[in-house]
């Protein structure tokens, strides 16, 4: 019985991916198309390219820049968001400006920031910060604004003010929205990590993949695309794991409201 359900779940989980993989494998097995090499060749290249020096010289720097830029954006976005969100007048004054900045497609900031910061690591981190900060900031503002009025009154009547209020009421109450902003920011961050390296760099994932493409190292290029895909997947998995821990109460609350 249980063994059967486990088997069923495994089949549901892995059935389609395995089928797709098999289709890709056999469809390209005898491929002579220069641009679409056999999957076996791509996997072969994957093992050779991404396990040795490149891991340290390209993958790690990319991820470090992403981490630095993303974390900086979280700190700045949440901090400013709290300041802006808690004062109605400040919010009214700044909101259109912030909406304008948020609406600028982040990749166009790459050439602008290159003017200031050249093409080094600083530029790339700044690009990631400047793209990731807006969704976090605006969602934080939104979350702070939506903090429940009754709960706010409750805090006041029990003398919960100042930093205690900020910590226990505002930050926690706004956390679902903050997390939404962080999720949007993560996918923007990955895009910017790759683009800033494609645009101007001497190392990094984006740089290497474009190099492969320009030198027509096709299986290697495909292996890079595969690696980017896996990275995107793993980062979103990591994010979901963290979210489920931090917002367990919120998901529980929503489930409880759904089933009266």
């Amino acid at each position: 019985m249980t063994a059967l359900t486990v088997l069923r779940r495994a089949l549901l989980l892995l059935g389609l991916p395995a089928t797709l993989f098999a289709v890709w494998w056999y469809a390209t097995a005898d491929s002579t198309d220069f641009y679409v090499p056999p999957l076996s060749a791509i996997l072969d290249a994957f093992g050779k390219v991404w396990t040795g020096d490149r891991l340290l010289s390209d993958v790690v720097p990319s991820l470090l820049r992403l981490t630095a830029g993303y974390l900086l954006a979280v700190v700045i976005g949440v901090g400013l968001g709290l300041l802006v969100g808690m004062r109605r007048a400040v919010r009214d004054v700044l909101e259109p400006v912030l909406e304008l900045f948020r609406a600028i497609p982040p990749p166009v900031l790459v050439p602008v920031i290159m003017l200031f910061a050249g093409i080094g690591d600083t530029m790339k981190v700044l690009v990631i910060v400047s793209g990731c900060v807006w969704p976090i900031l605006l969602n934080t503002v939104e979350g702070v604004r939506a903090v429940d009025e009754v709960l706010s009154d409750t805090c006041r009547s029990y003398g919960i003010t100042g930093t205690a209020r900020l910590r226990h009421l505002v930050l926690r109450g706004a956390s679902p929205q903050i997390v939404t902003g962080m999720r949007q920011a993560l996918s923007i961050g990955i895009i910017l990590m790759v683009i800033s390296e494609m645009f101007a760099a001497s190392n990094g994932l984006g740089f290497t993949i474009v190099q492969f493409q320009r030198s027509f190292a096709i299986p290697e290029m495909w292996s890079g695309v595969l690696l980017l895909g896996i990275l995107g997947f793993l980062l979103s998995l990591l994010f979901r794991f963290a979210e489920n821990r931090a917002l367990a109460w919120y998901h529980g609350l929503r489930r409880a409201r759904r089933t009266p």
């Binding site: 009754v150 709960l151 009547s157 003398g159 205690a164 109450g173 109460w249 609350l253």
Partner: protein
Amino acid sequence: MLDVRNLQKIYTGRNREVEALRNLTFHIGAGELVCLVGPSGCGKTTLLKCMAGLLDPTSGQVLLEGKPVDGPPPGMAVVFQEYGRSLFAWMNVRDNVALPLRRKKLGKARERELVDHALEVVGLADAHEAYPWQLSGGMQQRVAIARAVAYEPKVLLMDEPFAAVDAQTRAELEDLIRELWRELGVTVLFVTHDIDEAVYLGQRTVILSKSPTVVQEDLTIDLPDERDQLHTRSSPRFAELRAHVYEQIQRAKYRSGDTDAGVVDRAPEPAKTRS
């Protein structure tokens, strides 16, 4: 203990003003349990918020032990109607009750003692670790009451706390309030729109007019101190008081600060309800 003097509250909106409270004066003595009842939309919540220091009155004042209230005073706890919104969804029951105590810096042991005791008297001794949204509505309101009890207030303000729970739970919670009041010797002001509740619970019932609100009647409830749902509610005196309050409320629907002042004099019309 608690004095309301010539209280007036005018809300200023986009381009008009609404006078919610016209002129309210009453007194609550130390250790009293007073109910406040009035027709729907008569400004009960506005009055309570002014008394809790959550809202500044336009004129007049509220005095707590002779001192004017100009912000939430220490020693006062409020229980709101919307239990679901007044509890921290991200904290378990225990932390919800303990949070207001942290500021008092009582020390870990005393804090634990207060929280344990409060949860026990409201009948939630085994729900410490649960989150509010895992509990029923009645139990959530018990958590809010436990939080107020643990805070050891001198005055407890309750804003229609049982309006959103079912009838059976409501009866249980009413008895819980009477029990707590007698054990703790706390002064309680209980706002309600339910006439039975207003008669059953208190020593006195203050009946309010519709908005702009004035005090319609200050009625002493001369029921015996020992009350229970079955006998008290079926006693002749209860029925009389109930009928009296009912009549007053019906009258209150057509009476307000305006009619008293002789500004508007109109025939009774169907009451307009306000949500």
